[in-house]
């Protein structure tokens, strides 16, 4: 369920007429490699987005709940445990079950090429692999959310 009228949401303290993009940066699975997630979270924030970082070791259920509660426009999943082909499909499934179809899902991590194609077939908008710049992530999310 999307947050109803009971959810208190303050207007952004910005002179810009454009609404700030809200992004959840999430760490599914058991690995503790949070260097990339934290860098991306800071870079997105510095680029003017509202960033919600879930912290480590999140289940797919916890992540989907955060996405819904935070009324996010996008969610960036950072996974370096090799479990992406189990965890990402589960997250996509839960998002669909909850009727969340307009959230841009991106994945970052050590993801082999074949898996990248498979993840995109499941509805992941983009996969960022080692060496990708934060600017690429910023540009992509901006473009995809505004589209």
């Amino acid at each position: 369920m999307r947050p109803g009228p009971n959810t208190l949401r303050l207007a952004p303290m910005s002179t810009s007429t454009e609404k700030k993009i809200r992004v959840v940066v999430a760490k599914p699975g058991l690995d503790g490699h949070d260097r990339g997630a934290k860098i991306i979270a800071r870079a997105l924030r510095d680029a003017g987005m509202e960033v919600i970082y879930t912290g480590l070791h999140q289940t797919p259920e916890q992540i989907v709940e955060t996405v819904i509660q935070e009324d996010a426009d996008a969610v960036g999943l950072s996974i370096l445990s090799g479990a992406h082909m189990t965890l990402v499909p589960r997250i996509m499934e839960l998002l669909a079950e909850q009727g969340v179809e307009d959230v841009v899902v991106t994945v970052g991590g050590t993801i082999p090429d074949d898996d990248v194609q498979e993840l995109k077939r499941m509805g992941v908008a983009e996969v960022f692999t080692p060496g990708a710049s934060t600017q690429q992530a910023i540009d992509f999310i901006r473009g995809a959310v505004r589209a």
């Binding site: 260097r35 860098i39 912290g55 090799g82 082999p112 060496g131």
Partner: protein, 538 residues
């Protein structure tokens, strides 16, 4: 931010280390310490700047110890035997994420993670399979696990015991460094204080029963991989080490009873001289602190012996063959820095776990350094270099600045609880990323010389069938054991956990003999200690 400076030569480049330390155009004798003899000394003599042994690699080469582990115990056992057959001289075990977090393979949180990033070990049975046909009384074995280290050590001791090998004969290392888990690697089971008790229990127990064993490997590796600078790696690692010493002393142990068995583990990053200076400073600081602060009298207590691993984080997914070169240079820094053992990363590791072919090239890299280059012919060939000695002094100075900040916060345990080292590392990681993106730092194949990428690297795939196989294995053990003995052992463990005067090791050994699984022992302890959750911050 590193600054760009234009010198007489006119080359537009950042003349600073990868950690951001400014480097002068030339070093001379005026850059040496005021009393060079006292600060540098001789190998095997206080303050050990030039190495912990008088003979160093003239006496014995470093141990070539490649870290390995994936899939099930049987598969990793095959890789271990492959490595031993190819001239490797010690073993090093990588565990999967569920094992590191204390979950059995059939725990819901383990789904999709079993055997992916290391080997899955749930039971004594798995540990016996992992080391089947490997002579544990002759090969030294390292195990990279922390939060549940005491449980894994109990599995290992009982597995050896069943083959007639006493704990006194076992040689090797278990990582056990829980402080750096909260700081950097983030695989935990319990809150900080009970976790420190478990570490101290293990140090105490092994000082009595395992004279050839290193119960802890105080690790900077993961701190560096998380994005720290060289000085942060040095300072946080040493401060963690000094904190374990304080805890063991508070238990009433004599420093010389356990300090000789403490070992260290550092990263070898790509900034060649900064890394060498880091190892030299580390040895000097450790020797001084142990002697002057803790009053160690046994010379062996002063010796910082360390393992080195080349920097995974320096590897690129782009043009992966270039990683062979990076790894060779990093390994050379470890050797010239006087490491006791070394792991060289495989060139495909920015893509996946390494294939057998890639692992062989990595091992051969060490063998080429040892056998062909001649660098092991003389002891500490860089000792006395104006630049290396000046950089060693600088790192020492930066390290003590961090020690003061940590002391002001009330010590390392308190600093970790307040997230101080965690924030310092995240800041450094972000700064470095900005330097890459603005082009102040060049990374070949990523932001410079990007043409001609080779995407044809074959990668290792973990068979998805291994997970259900491992789940079946742990369930088979649960089905065949004596339930009454198990319940008794777990309840004794729980009672001991409630009493801080009890050493938990003996109770864990009893539980292992009753075929308790890793997850059951962790859950029993969590029932008393609670779990751990980090406040999310970036």
């Amino acid at each position: 931010m590193a600054t760009r400076s234009r010198t007489d030569s006119g080359r537009d480049a950042s003349f600073s280390t990868i950690s951001g330390e400014a480097i002068k155009p030339l070093y001379t004798d005026t850059d040496l310490p005021p009393d060079p003899d006292a600060a540098i000394g001789l190998p095997g003599e206080f303050p050990y700047t030039r190495g912990v042994y008088a003979s160093m690699y003239r006496g014995r080469l470093w141990t070539m110890r490649q870290f390995a582990g994936f899939g099930t115990a049987a598969e990793t056992n095959q890789r271990f035997r492959y490595l031993l057959d190819h001239g490797q001289t010690g073993l090093s075990t990588a565990f999967d994420m569920p094992s590191l977090m204390g979950h059995d393979s059939d725990h819901p949180r383990s789904l999709g993670e079993v055997g992916r990033e290391g080997v899955a070990i749930d039971t004594l049975d798995d540990m016996e399979t992992l080391f089947a046909d490997i002579p544990l009384d002759r090969v030294s074995v390292s195990m990279t696990i922390n939060a549940p280290a005491a449980i894994m050590l109990a599995f290992y001791v009982v597995a050896a015991e069943r083959r007639g090998i006493a704990s006194e004969q076992l040689a090797g290392t278990i990582q056990t460094d829980i402080l750096k888990e909260y700081i950097a690697q983030k695989e935990w089971c319990f809150p900080v204080d009970p976790a420190m008790r478990l570490v101290t229990d293990m140090i105490e127990w092994s000082s009595e029963h395992m004279p050839r064993w290193h119960p802890i490997s105080i690790s900077g590796y993961h701190i560096r991989e998380a994005g720290s600078t060289a000085a942060q790696e040095l300072a946080f690692t040493l401060k963690d080490g000094l904190t374990y010493v304080e805890h063991a002393l508070a238990r009433g142990l004599d420093v010389d009873d356990f300090a000789p068995r403490l070992s260290f583990f550092f990263n070898a990053h790509i900034d060649f001289f900064e890394e060498i200076a880091k190892y030299r400073a580390a040895r000097r600081i450790w020797a001084r602190e142990l002697r002057e602060t803790f009053g160690a009298r046994d010379e062996r207590s002063l010796l910082m012996r360390f393992h080195t691993q080349t920097a995974g984080v320096s590897l690129t997914a782009q043009q992966p063959l270039n990683n062979i070169v990076r790894t060779a240079i990093e390994a050379l820094a470890g050797v010239l820095g006087g490491t006791q053992s070394l792991h060289t990363n495989s060139f495909d590791e920015a893509l996946a776990l390494p294939t057998e072919d890639a692992v062989r090239v990595a091992l051969r890299t060490q063998q080429i350094i040892a056998e062909e280059t001649g660098v092991a012919n003389t002891i500490d060939p860089l000792g006395g270099s104006y630049f290396v000695e000046a950089l060693t002094d600088r790192l020492e100075e930066l390290c003590y600045e961090y020690f003061s900040k940590i002391d002001e916060l009330g010590g390392m345990v308190e600093a970790v609880k307040r997230g101080f080292p965690q924030r310092e590392i995240a800041d450094a990681a972000f700064r470095y990323q900005q330097e890459l993106e603005t082009g102040v730092r060049k990374l070949v194949g990523v932001n410079a010389y990007t043409e001609g990428d080779d995407h044809q690297t074959p990668i290792l795939r973990i068979d998805p069938e291994l997970e259900p196989e491992q789940v079946a294995r742990v369930r088979a053990v649960r089905a065949r054991r004596d339930e009454q003995a198990l319940a008794g052992a777990l309840s004794a463990l729980e009672n001991a956990a409630r009493d801080p005067r009890e050493n938990l090791m003996a109770h864990l050994l009893t539980a292992v003999r009753a075929d308790a699984t890793e997850g059951e022992m962790v859950q029993t302890l969590q029932g008393v200690f609670g779990g751990y959750m980090e406040a999310p911050a970036f």
